[in-house]
Structure formats: C-alpha cells, structure tokens
C-alpha cells in the first residue's frame, strides 16, 4: 500500500510509526530531564543523571530509527530529504554563527540559546521537505 499522496513506498510507510514513536519518546525524555529536577525529584543529582542518560539512550535509538527510515525511502524521497537536510543544517549553522557573532560583540542584548537554532533547523528542514515534495509533485 502506498501513502495516500503516493510519496512513500510500503517499506518507507512501515518505518514511519517507529520513527514517530522514538521521536515522541526522545521529546518525553528531554522534557523529563529538563523539568523533572524542579517538579519531580527536587534536584537530586542521581535522578538527574538517570534522566539525562535515558535521554541520551533514547536519542541514540531515535537516530537509528531515522537512519532506517531514510534507508527505506526510494531514490526521489531520499534526494528530497538530502536537499532538505542541507538547507536545514545550512540555515541553522549560518544563522547560529551570525547570531553568536552579533551576541559576542554586544549587538544583541540577550544571549543566543542553542535550543532556538535547533528549533530553527527543524522548522527549515520540514519546510524544505514540503517544498521538495511540491517541486517533484
């Protein structure tokens, strides 16, 4: 069975659910590592390290799930993903270093946060995937 919009093969469709599950699991462990100390275990170091380790382990599995998803894609989808990654990473790095430079010479009042550039990279990546799909529709 193809995806409803015909953009993915059955192999790729089979890898969507594991990727979605591990993405959500990574986000959940990230939230736990960030908010657990304040709301759940009152900044106890052992619990904090366990949460960070869980986040790292789930993150590694998420990376493997993503790689498996990419391997399951057909030629065109892989090309779209590659171009989207190049654009996403490029915007994140260029934007991030420009922002950091502006921050270092006090052109910007507040410090740059790595989370902002991770989010920017992710948003640009998703937009570039959508644009690639439109281009080859």
């Amino acid at each position: 069975m193809q995806a409803h919009d015909g953009t993915r093969t059955p192999d790729a469709m089979a890898n969507v659910a594991p990727l979605a599950i591990w993405t959500l699991a990574w986000l959940a462990t990230l939230a736990l590592a960030n908010f657990g100390p304040k709301f759940l275990w009152d900044y106890q170091p052992v619990a904090g390290w366990v949460a960070v380790a869980a986040n790292l382990v789930v993150g590694l599995v998420w990376i493997v799930a993503h790689a498996r998803y990419l391997r399951g894609l057909d030629d065109l989808q892989r090309k779209i993903m590659l171009e989207a990654m190049a654009i996403g990473l490029g915007v994140g790095v260029v934007g991030g270093f420009a922002y950091a430079a502006a921050s270092n010479v006090h052109l910007i009042a507040f410090d740059a946060s790595i989370a902002i550039f991770s989010a920017l990279t992710a948003v640009v990546y998703l937009v570039a995937i959508a644009a690639g799909n439109l281009r080859y529709r």
Binding site: A3, T9, D74, D75, Y136
Partner: protein
C-alpha cells in the same frame, strides 16, 4: 533524461500507482521520471527495463 515510460505504461493500461508498486518506488517517483524532472538510479532503471522486457537504452534516451 527523456524516456518512454508514460507510453509503455499506457500500452499496458497501468496507472502510475500500478507501475510504482511493480518497481517498488513511490507513485511520486514514477510521475517525476515521466515528467523528466528526475532521473532514476541505475537499479531502478534496470527494474523498469526488466519489467517491460526491454533494454535500458530502449526505455531511457541518452541525450548527450
């Protein structure tokens, strides 16, 4: 790259989705190849040629 994919597919009354399933690629990929927006990899080109019982150069036309 020019190709005869649409004509070959039409001769067999296959939809793009039918052909995509037989070649194990997405319908989007078949559409992009037919519109000459995208050149398939060698393994996909071989699978397409084999499906139509033809040589690669009979399906895909080298313009260079």
């Amino acid at each position: 790259m020019k190709n005869h994919l649409r004509a070959l597919r039409s001769q067999r009354n296959w939809t793009q989705a039918d052909l995509a399933e037989r070649v194990n690629v997405s319908r989007q990929t078949i559409n992009a190849i037919e519109k000459e927006k995208f050149d398939p990899s060698l393994p996909v080109a071989f699978r397409i040629a084999k499906l139509f019982d033809m040589k690669i150069e009979e399906v895909f036309v080298d313009e260079q």
